[in-house]
Each structure stands twice: as structure tokens, then as C-alpha cells.
């Protein structure tokens, strides 16, 4: 990058900065996220700067990765590993676990969607500690019921602000317990290795304080130029992802492990900090026509708009249309057949990723390679069906509504027997307008 190394003395570990909603908001945050009406930053200028940061990351990812490795190599108290896929990542974590099979994980896409299944398969017990944070809230009232009940915060100019709430500069702690914390970072500075987290509850702070071994997971796209860019990207994630955070608020019994109840280790000074850089198909995005996915900051603003999201999140992974597509490209999800191309995911993307086009591309490429089912083929030319229906109306209309024929159509063509089908008109518009054409 040609930049001078920071003049400060290199510490044992790089600083880990945890950003939280601004102090006055935290006070009002007992059972949900509040917003400040008076704080109205210029969202367009934030997007412009964020796009600059993301484009730089995408276009220089190899150089940034090398620079990050050099930077991290200067910290004696840190162990660095690079994994090309999740098998390597899980294998590394198992190797350094030191006998424990208990892990706290944060609400990170890469950790939950990619690493967690592999860890569980290796015998680890993993818990998203975020959700246990609700245990002391006696009457949690979930005010947001679904994607459509969201208050449209951006449209009303209501957004959160985020400040640095905690900076971890050393590993000493008197609170250490015997478990692993596997934490996906929101951004990391290539220049000095400073890592940034966004925190809405206090799970990350606690893990940084309490876990005997900390693994910071850095997925390739999280590497940015410098500290300023990392901080800005993390704040932006908070601002644009606020509404998706609201959707996830609420306790989940399945995640209810009480890490606080683990005994505090005597001494507690033999802590370890690992940085695990994970590619897992990301490097290939840049050359494979999906390079814009590299721009994503995982704010999940797109998830708010996606009509199928609410139904897919039940499957235990962090949903966003981008994750849905990326999961397919990585090979752990089937083709994105649940998407019906409403196009809404692009509407609020702060970095303008054209996810609809990328999902089209992935589907089309997949079926060109693997062929289509005959049911897909039967329905792939609706105009032909419409022509036949119009030519044979009203017989076709009788047939489409016939209760005896509907189950046959369901079996043969794949149209649900209860589906509302449109009625054909024998007199098409082209017949109605003289000569069929007016051009």
C-alpha cells in the first residue's frame, strides 16, 4: 500500500474496539432498541464514503490481506491462521481448543452460517450468547412481529448513532472461564490489525473479558484499509442494519447457555488470542462475476425487504438475500429457488449491490449446467399456454376451474389445486384492436 507503519510501539495484541449505540440511547434500551429523533446524519454522504471503502476493499483484497498479515505478525501475543475453507477453520479451532468443547459465538454471518455447522459436526457445543442476554429482562415484549411491521426508520430519518464503548488492549482478566469465544469481526484494519465489533447487547464485551481462548474470525471481505475505514464500516453496519436488529430481538431458549455460571479459573492469565482469516469462496467471487458480493458489510438491510426471509430464518441461520445467494455459491445451500425475484433486496442496500441480478445469474448458470426439470420446462413458456387458453376459451376456463381436473394438473404440471388461475379471453387485445397491430 506504500503507507508508513504507525509510529506507536506495537503492543502485545492489536486493539479490539467494541462499538455500541451512543450512551444516551443505551440508557433507554431495557427491552428494545430506541432511536434518537434528533440525530439525523446525512445518509447519502455516509453511503458515498462507505462505497469508497468497500470498493477499495474489493479491488485491493489481495494487497490488503498481505498487509494485514504483516501487521498482525508484529503482535507477539497473537496467533494468526489462514483457512481456505470451513473444514480448515474448524480443524484449527479444534486444535487450539485445549480440551474444551464449549464455545460462545456472536451473531456473525460467517460464524453462524459457515463455521458453526462444521464445529458442531466436530463435537463442539456452540451457543449464540447474544440471546442469553435477555435472561434478566423479565417481561420482554417483542414489538416487532414481522418484516412488514417495522417502523420504516430510515424513511422517517430515525437512525442510531454508534460510539466506541470499550477498547481491549490486553488479555489480562480476573474473569476468565474455560470456554472458547469465536467472534466474527465487523471490520479489521490492514494497516495496524485493529479489530472492530458492533455490539447491541453485552455478549461480545463479556466474551472478550471471560473466554480463555478468543478466536477472532476475519472473513476476507472484512479487511479494510485502515482504522478509520474499519470504524466507519462498523458504524455503518449499525446504522443500516438497525431494522434487522429489531427483528431479531428476543430470547431464544435453544441458545440459553449460562456462561456466567462457569467457574472462574484461578490465575486466569494464560489466555490466548487467535486471528483466523477465512476465505471460504470469497476470493473466487472477485473473478467469478459475483465480485459485488464482496462489497457487502452484512448489515442485512436487504433482509428487511425480503418477503421470503421471515420464513427462511426459521432454519437456524442468519438470513439475508445476500447470504442466501452466497450460501448457494459456497455450496451449503440448494439453488435459490425460494426467491421469486421481487427485486426488493436492492432497494435499501447502502452499497448498491444488485442482488436481484446476481440471483438471476446464479440460477440461470446453474440450470444451464445442470438442466431443468420437465415441470420447469412445461411452465417456461406461459405465452404459449396463454395462446392455447385463449384459442380454446371458454373450454379452457371450464377446465382450469374444474375440481376434477385440478388434481391432475397439480400432479402433471405442478400447479397447486387451490391456485387462483387467470381467466382466458377469446378476444385478445390484439384481436380487439383492428388488424392486431397498430405499428
Amino acid at each position: 500500500m506504500g503507507k508508513e507503519r504507525p509510529k506507536e510501539v506495537v503492543a502485545e495484541i492489536p486493539s479490539i474496539l467494541v462499538l455500541e449505540p451512543a450512551a444516551e440511547q443505551r440508557k433507554r434500551r431495557a427491552a428494545g432498541v430506541e432511536v434518537r429523533k434528533e440525530f439525523q446524519p446525512d445518509l447519502e454522504s455516509i453511503k458515498t464514503h462507505l462505497k469508497e471503502i468497500r470498493h477499495h476493499s474489493r479491488d485491493n483484497h489481495s494487497v490488503l490481506l498481505e498487509e494485514l498479515q504483516r501487521s498482525l505478525g508484529q503482535y507477539a501475543g497473537l496467533k494468526l491462521a489462514i483457512a481456505s475453507d470451513v473444514k480448515q477453520a474448524a480443524s484449527y479451532i479444534k486444535e487450539i481448543a485445549g480440551g474444551t468443547d464449549l464455545a460462545s459465538i456472536n451473531k456473525s454471518n460467517v460464524v453462524i452460517n459457515e463455521i458453526r455447522p462444521e464445529l458442531e459436526a466436530s463435537g463442539f457445543k456452540t451457543y449464540i450468547r447474544y440471546f442469553t442476554e435477555f435472561k434478566n429482562i423479565d417481561k420482554f415484549e417483542r414489538k416487532v412481529e414481522d418484516y412488514w411491521a417495522l417502523p420504516g426508520l430510515h424513511e422517517r430519518g430515525l437512525v442510531e448513532s454508534f460510539d466506541i464503548a470499550k477498547t481491549v488492549t490486553q488479555l489480562n482478566s480476573s474473569e476468565v472461564r474455560d470456554y472458547l469465544a469465536i467472534l466474527g469481526v465487523n471490520a479489521i484494519s490492514a494497516e495496524d490489525g485493529f479489530a472492530f465489533f458492533l455490539q447491541h447487547m453485552s455478549n461480545i464485551s463479556k466474551d472478550l473479558q471471560q473466554a480463555r481462548k478468543i478466536v477472532l474470525v476475519v472473513s476476507l471481505e472484512k479487511v479494510v484499509q485502515d482504522r478509520e475505514a474499519a470504524s466507519f464500516q462498523t458504524r455503518s453496519m449499525g446504522i443500516f442494519g438497525l431494522e434487522s436488529v429489531l427483528l431479531d430481538l428476543g430470547p431464544k431458549e435453544i441458545e440459553g447457555y449460562d456462561f456466567e455460571s462457569l467457574p472462574i479459573l484461578a490465575g486466569g492469565q494464560d489466555r490466548e488470542l487467535h486471528v483466523l482469516i477465512l476465505d471460504n469462496g470469497r476470493g473466487g467471487l472477485v473473478s467469478g462475476g459475483y465480485q459485488d458480493l464482496f462489497l457487502c458489510i452484512d448489515c442485512r438491510a436487504c433482509a428487511r425487504q425480503c418477503p421470503i426471509g421471515l420464513h427462511l430464518v426459521k432454519k437456524g441461520w442468519v438470513y439475508s438475500p445476500k447470504n442466501y445467494l452466497f450460501g448457494f455459491l459456497q455450496g451449503w445451500l440448494p439453488p435459490t429457488e425460494a426467491c421469486f425475484h421481487c427485486g426488493r433486496c436492492q432497494v435499501e442496500c447502502p452499497v448498491d449491490i444488485d442482488i436481484p441480478t446476481l440471483i438471476w445469474r446464479a440460477q440461470l448458470e446453474h440450470y444451464v449446467r445442470h438442466g431443468r426439470t420437465w415441470k420447469k420446462r412445461l411452465l417456461d413458456n406461459p405465452e404459449l399456454l396463454a395462446k392455447l387458453g385463449s384459442l380454446t376459451a371458454p373450454l379452457s376456463n371450464w377446465a382450469k376451474d374444474n375440481s376434477l381436473l385440478k388434481p391432475i394438473m397439480e400432479t402433471l404440471v405442478g400447479l397447486h389445486r387451490k391456485a387462483q388461475l387467470p381467466a382466458f379471453h377469446r378476444q385478445t387485445l390484439r384481436k380487439l384492436i383492428k388488424g392486431g397491430s397498430r405499428g
Partner: protein
Amino acid sequence: MAEKIIYFAGCFANYYDPEIGKALIEVMERNGIEVLVPEQKCCGMPMMANSNVKGAAKNFNYNVKSLARAASPGYDIITTCPSCNLMLRKEGLPFFDSEEASFVSSHVYDAGEYLLRLHNQSRLDTHFRETPLKVFYHNPCHLKVQNITKEPVALLKLIPGLEVSGVNTSCCGMGGSYGMKKDNYALSVEIARKVWEEVKSTEEDRVVTECGGCNLQIEAGTGIRGVHPIILLNEAYRSSEASEAA
């Protein structure tokens, strides 16, 4: 009539609801605009949705050639179907780009968007008959993603007496033929419930939406048949003509 537009009707207005196309032609003619309907095929989006790339490419290329030729004197291209509009304006370009496709993309307008533009230029005939009607407007996804959300409502409000007392921007879950398929039906219905509940709880006289698929879905869950806004506009013109004749 000196001014002309090119109409891309799409499958829905051609085969399933020709009244939409007739209304578009009459509304335009009322405003002194001649409507040309060149040869055209399905826009190709349903083929894309069933991963029929070759079919989609064939139709898209056929359409953009035909439309570009017809619109070459500088005419605008108007659609009444939000999905056809999105296909011609944006979705087809990354896959089937050509000079004609770019030309069509930069000349295509949704009917409501176009008519409101005429109004903003003080060129729209606003002699609509008083129409005391409360309507519920459902904004289809394929207009919403093109940021065409306020225009249809603003246009409807030009009809004196007509009140748009409810606006819904949720997805109806139909997605063309997606919601008709056995594999997707349950999910489609689950998504639609929000819209259905809203429509059922309103006391409006009519439900209005541009999308034929949304209309089918709304009808399936509520029994209420929606109407394309161009038909309401035309009705308001027609009653105005009848009133003038009387």
C-alpha cells in the same frame, strides 16, 4: 394526432384482461396521443423465472428490436404491466444487452408514471367526472423497486371525489406463476396474509393495483377483484364524456 407512443401490452393485458389495453389506448387518445402497438412477444421474465435462458433471450431480443424500430422517431414506450416494465428497463440488460435494449430501456415508462409526467407538464386532460369512490391501492413490488410508489396514488387523486384511503406496499407473494406452483403455494399464501388482512379490514369501494399477479392473489384471499388504475382513469373520462353529451 401528432404525438405517438408505443404500447407494450404484455401477456396479461393481451390474453387475460384486454380491458387494460383498451383503457390505455382510450386514455392516451383522450390526451391526443396515438397509440402504436408493434409486434411483440412475452417480455421474457416468466422464462427467466423458469430458467429458460434461451427462450428469454429470444423473446427479449425480438421485443427490443421491434420496440426500438417502432420508437426510433423518438416515441416513448409505455407498459401497463410492472413486470414487463422492469424486464425492459432493467432486468434483461445484464443478460441480453444490445444497442436496441439500451435504447428501449431509456425510453420505457410505466403508464402511471408517464401520465403523471404529462400532468406535471400541464399536458394531461384533467376533465374527469366527479367519482365518489374510496380506493385501496396496492403497490406491486416491480414498481416499488423502480421507486414508482407515489406516482400511481398522485394520478388517482386527480379524479375529483376519489379518495385513496389505503396504500399497501407489502409483497403479495404471488411472483408471477411462483405462487401458483405446488412447491411454493404454502409460502406464497403465508406471505400474502398481511395484504389479505389489510384488504379485508378496509372499507374501500375498490382495490387498485397495476399487477395482474397481485390482483389474482388479492382476489384469491379476499374474494375482491382489483382493478388497474388505467381503467379507473378511463372510467372517469368516459363518465365525463357522457355527462358532457347529456
